[in-house]
């Protein structure tokens, strides 16, 4: 089965944010106004109602020159997705396109996916049902899988006017990315393809102008070992033996350990202003 990828060339992006509006429009997401961020960036990061966020970074490069960098940030759609692994309800799955989607009928809002995502791109949102009862669901970019099913491209890609965003076959996108890095090395010596192998590669790949840390991205993101243990070993066995509810509790224990470890491991990637 052919896999697809969203290709993000940040060096062609002019920061217009049409991708953010197109996303809200297609996915019918409400406005999510924030306090003043101290830059033109509108939201600190993606959230349950804002699935992609344009990052604006003022960076002084090795030569002391000012670079004004932009990055369309959204779910990476990992090949080995931590969110998929830790979900106790199997609500998160891979599609035939390579995208990672949440089944909201199955999602119970436990938040393990939020806590385990190495990129912090899944969020929980609280809703109120017609009886006034509160419930929570995980939310993130779907790569417009509903559009892909209709033969359309993701809304952000369709609206991008500079060709910074593209969507296509995996091999073609990877090749394009490698070539583009060679083209821009002169201007951006640290340019690189960001397609981290610690998560088996991603289905949103980047051509970055600078090191990942400049964009607040982990240099070597990994699926937490405990998540692998959980998904691939404990959960199938546990569910068989203990039933789902108990396993959710076990899951919570595992996850909490992961979080405390993760907080220690913060790799200084929050350098943007």
């Amino acid at each position: 089965m052919t896999k697809y990828m969203k290709y993000v060339d940040v060096t062609k992006c002019d920061g217009c944010r049409a991708c953010m509006v197109a996303c809200k429009n297609w996915n019918d997401l409400p406005a999510d106004p924030q306090d003043f961020q101290g830059s033109v960036q509108s939201h600190p990061k993606v959230s349950a109602d804002t699935w992609n966020v344009m990052q604006y970074i003022e960076h002084e490069n090795g030569k002391g020159d000012l670079e004004y960098l932009f990055r369309h940030s959204a779910c990476f759609h990992c090949t080995d997705a931590a969110c998929e692994k830790v979900c106790p309800e199997n609500a998160i799955s891979y599609t035939k396109y390579g995208t990672v989607v949440i089944d909201h009928d199955k999602c119970v809002g436990c938040g393990y996916c939020v806590q385990n995502c190495p990129f912090e791109v899944i969020s929980l949102k609280e809703y109120v049902d017609k009886n006034g009862d509160k419930y929570r669901k995980s939310q993130k970019c779907t790569m417009c899988t509903d559009r892909l099913e209709e033969g359309l491209q993701p809304a952000c890609v369709t609206t991008c006017h500079t060709g910074s965003l593209e969507f296509g076959e995996e091999t073609a996108m990877l090749k394009k990315a490698e070539q583009r890095v060679q083209e821009i090395k002169g201007r951006f010596p640290n340019a690189q393809v960001y397609n981290p192998q610690g998560v088996g590669g991603t289905h949103t790949i980047y051509v970055l102008a600078e090191k990942p840390s400049v964009y607040g991205l982990p240099e070597n993101p990994k699926v937490p070992t405990s998540a692998v243990v959980w998904k691939d070993y404990a959960q199938p066995i546990g569910k068989m033996m203990l039933g789902a509810t108990t396993m959710a509790l076990v899951g919570a224990f595992v996850t909490n350990n992961i979080i405390s470890r993760k907080n220690k491991d913060q790799d200084g990637g929050q350098g943007h202003e």
Binding site: D14, G15, A31, P33, Q37, S42, L66, T162
Partner: protein, 787 residues
């Protein structure tokens, strides 16, 4: 634009000055990105490192209000280093023309200056002519009074050191700009200059654009692909609105409004004699004017009554925005109609404009939302409703997608749009509102014998019966008819001055040449060559996509280069051929009389390096902004000597002792103008929801301001509070040895809508350009402190 958006992809170098298209004309970057892929370079010249700068190969900062030194220095660089396209300059500009004796330029003043009137006697800038009226020329360009030599002398004062000391540009960056852009002077290369309000909203705004044009002419960059002088329009239809006479001193199609202060304008014959040049395409002006009068007054326009010319209003004042508001402020206006305009946010010195509205007896606001202007009387505006006597009517208007009609973009493309959805509630299209108003008033005035009512009654208003006009009849009236046959005209070439033709706007004549063929509806996206897409929409004039394209070929009619060919003379077919519609008489051979007149609109068929027509001098000269942090380094004239000064309370002037910091205003991607359309839209408001002021890290440190702090910005007009956005993208300027700070802020905000904030225009001055009266929003003085 002389060229068009798609054509930007052909440029070898885009000099973006006085504009930030990556943020404000975003779609341009679709084409500039392509240009870069083809090896083209981008230069961004801006006081602030913008998103455009981030996409540029070369960035150079300049202090707001110093474009003329910046480009004047580039002219000197091109001349000194012999980088100009000399053959082009000699043939297609007035470089070879001889200026009459008596012309001089001394200490910032051209000859003919009247200090009391603050204006020039332009006859002192005349050119020598032969007995037959043709200009005296020296094709060697060596004559000391030739335009070329006078220009060279004028800009010899703009040496790199003086220039950079004034602009504050690092010398190395400046020279890099000069070298990169002037490389386009070679045949086979093209450079474009892209500008917007950063160029025009100055007391020297017209001359800023003039100096860009001079540089482009010297480099042979006009009339060729990827070249030109390209004004990026800030509203989707601002090109259309100026084409259609929205400017106070124009009728439609850039025909001058008659004035009571010009004695010759008392009669049509006098007006035409005064306004029509003896040669060049404008010599057809009587045909355009008479056909316009026929369109407006129909059968009431006859040869005997000078085609109703006497019906045209002939004012004795300057009716520009600032003057109108000054008059309103002084109680001289009873009422006003605001069609989609919001001066309480968008006008200069907006606090005074708000006060002026309170002097009106009535105000009719036609808009999609209640704006800060139509709500000026409310408590939220800081007003006490009990004190305001103005009666305000708010008529809900339809949005663009709720109505049918055309808009004209920066490329001069008139593009028809169809209605997508019905209007909500009682909202109606502007055209319907005007139509109903006109028909009702006509009924009320019917039978009146008052002379003041006659012009209104004489208007030919036949757009169908009923409350809704037939928009197709409006479109056809614009194109014009042969009144003898009743048929639509093929183009403005068919217009006559004897009352047998009509056209509501001569420059658009030809867009609707026959029944059922409204070319603004054309939507064929097949490239017809040169990325001109000739069958997509209609570009005025006569579907020409690159105007002055005759200049893409040499005097003999051969393209200067294969790479930049547009049209050329085909001697077998005896006509001009190419991938664009020739902006030239199709069968005039290069060797025929006028065969090299590439700038055929002008009297002698050449472009004007020396323009004895502007109010503030035949060559652009640097003057400091109305409010400046330093004395003028080029002369003892501090400010433009030809601008109108408004004394007193209406416009307080600030000085550097109290307000040492330079400020400018600009727009962000997400908001449109005064924000009425966008601050009422949640998805855009969340993206740009807060009023901010960008300040450098250095200024922040000096003032003890941290990022996200609330700060107060003060000017001689008022003060505002906003968030501080401390950024590396502003750096203090080193200007004539001293450090000068500059700050910048968006001007979109007001108290209405989802995204609210302080109005930047509370700070800006009521002062305008010497030719157009466009306000100087882009350079004024202020101070900053922590709130």
């Amino acid at each position: 634009m002389t060229n068009h958006w798609n054509d930007l992809q052909h440029t070898d170098c885009a000099l973006i000055i006085g504009a930030n298209p990556a943020e404000n004309h975003v779609i341009s970057f679709r084409w500039l990105t392509k240009a870069r892929e083809n090896g083209g370079k981008i230069i961004s010249v801006d006081p602030r490192f913008t998103r455009t700068s981030s996409q540029a190969d070369v960035y150079a900062s300049l202090r707001s209000g110093t474009d003329i030194p910046f480009v004047g220095g580039m002219i000197k660089y091109a001349l000194d280093n012999n980088l100009i396209h000399k053959e082009y300059v000699a043939n297609y500009t007035n470089a070879s023309f001889i200026v009459k004796e008596g012309y001089e330029f001394k200490d910032g003043l051209f000859s003919g200056y009247d200090e009391a009137k603050r204006s020039y006697d332009k006859t002192k800038w005349a050119l020598e002519s032969n007995p037959d009226g043709t200009p005296v020329k020296d094709m060697t360009l060596e004559h000391p009074r030739s335009v070329f030599q006078l220009m060279k002398k004028h800009y010899s004062r703009y040496d790199v050191d003086t220039v950079t000391a004034v602009t504050g540009t690092p010398k190395e960056d400046y020279l890099n700009v000069c070298k990169t852009f002037c490389a386009t002077g070679k045949a086979g290369k093209s450079g474009t200059i892209m500008y917007a309000m950063g160029a025009t909203q100055h007391t020297v705004g017209s001359q800023n654009v003039r100096i860009y044009a001079i540089l482009q002419l010297l480099l042979g960059n006009i009339g060729i692909p990827g070249g030109g002088i390209n004004a990026m329009r800030g509203e989707s239809n601002v090109q259309g609105s100026t084409d259609f006479g929205l400017l106070y001193d124009n009728l439609t199609g850039y025909l001058a409004s008659p004035k009571a202060t010009v004695p010759e304008h008392a009669t049509l014959a006098g007006y035409l004699a005064k306004e029509t040049p003896v040669s060049g395409y404008w010599s057809n002006k009587p045909k355009f004017v008479v056909s316009l009068l026929k369109a407006w007054y129909g059968s009431n326009a006859t040869k005997d009554n000078e085609f109703g010319y006497h019906f045209l209003p002939k004012g004795n004042k300057n009716y520009s925005h600032i003057n109108l508001f000054k008059t309103m402020y002084d109680g001289g206006l009873d009422g006003a109609f605001f069609f989609g305009t919001n001066p309480v946010v968008g006008g200069p010195n907006a606090g005074k404009e708000k006060e002026a509205l309170g002097k009106l007896k009535w105000l009719v606001a036609i808009d999609l939302w209640e704006t800060e202007s139509s709500a000026f009387w409310q408590k939220a505006a800081g007003s006490n409703p009990a004190d305001i006597k103005t009666e305000v009517f708010l008529l809900p208007a339809s949005a663009s997608f709720e109505k049918e009609g055309s808009i004209s973009n920066s490329s001069r493309w008139m593009q028809y749009r169809w209605k997508a959805i019905d209007s909500r509630g009682e909202a109606r299209p502007d055209l319907d509102i005007i139509h109903e108003l006109a028909t009702k008033l006509k009924k009320l005035y019917a039978g009146s014998s008052k002379s003041a009512d006659k012009p209104f009654l004489a208007l030919d208003w036949n757009y169908g019966t009923g409350d809704v006009p037939d928009i197709d009849l409006v479109a056809k009236e614009i194109n014009g008819y042969d009144l003898t046959t009743g048929k639509l005209l093929p183009g403005f070439g068919a217009l006559k001055d004897d009352g047998t033709t009509s056209s509501g706007n001569w420059i658009y004549s030809g867009f609707y040449p026959e029944e059922g063929k409204n070319k603004s509806k054309n939507r064929d996206n097949k490239d017809t060559g040169g990325h001109h897409y000739l069958n997509w929409s209609f570009a005025w004039p006569m579907n020409r996509r690159i105007i002055y394209n005759r200049a893409s070929a040499d005097a003999n009619g051969n393209p200067w280069s294969k790479e930049k060919a547009v049209i050329w003379w085909d001697s077998l077919q005896n006509k001009w051929v190419g991938n664009d519609v020739p902006d030239f008489k199709a069968d005039t051979a290069p060797a025929a009389p006028g065969g090299t007149g590439a700038f055929m609109m002008n009297k002698d068929g050449v472009a004007l390096l020396f323009a004895p027509t502007l109010n503030d001098g035949p060559f652009p000269e640097h003057y400091e902004p109305y409010e400046s942090p330093m004395p003028n380094a080029f002369s003892s004239q501090e400010i433009n000597p030809a601008i109108t000064l408004f004394e007193g309370d209406f416009n307080k002037r600030g000085f550097k002792s109290d307000y040492p910091i330079v400020a400018t205003t600009y727009r962000v991607s997400e908001h449109w103008q005064s924000g009425t359309m966008t601050r009422n839209q949640e998805w855009l408001s969340e993206l740009a929801g807060h009023m901010f002021v960008e300040i450098s890290e250095e200024l922040a440190k000096e003032k003890g301001i941290k990022n996200k702090d609330k700060i107060v910005v003060t000017s001689a007009r008022g003060e505002i509070e906003a968030y501080a956005m401390v950024t590396k993208r502003y750096k203090p300027f080193k200007v004539r040895g001293k450090q000068v700070h500059q700050i910048g802020m968006p001007w979109h905000f007001g108290f209405k809508g989802y995204a609210t904030g302080a109005t930047a225009n509370r700070l800006t001055p009521h002062i305008g350009d010497a030719n157009t009266m466009i306000p100087e929003y882009k350079a004024f003085l202020c101070d900053v402190r922590r709130a």
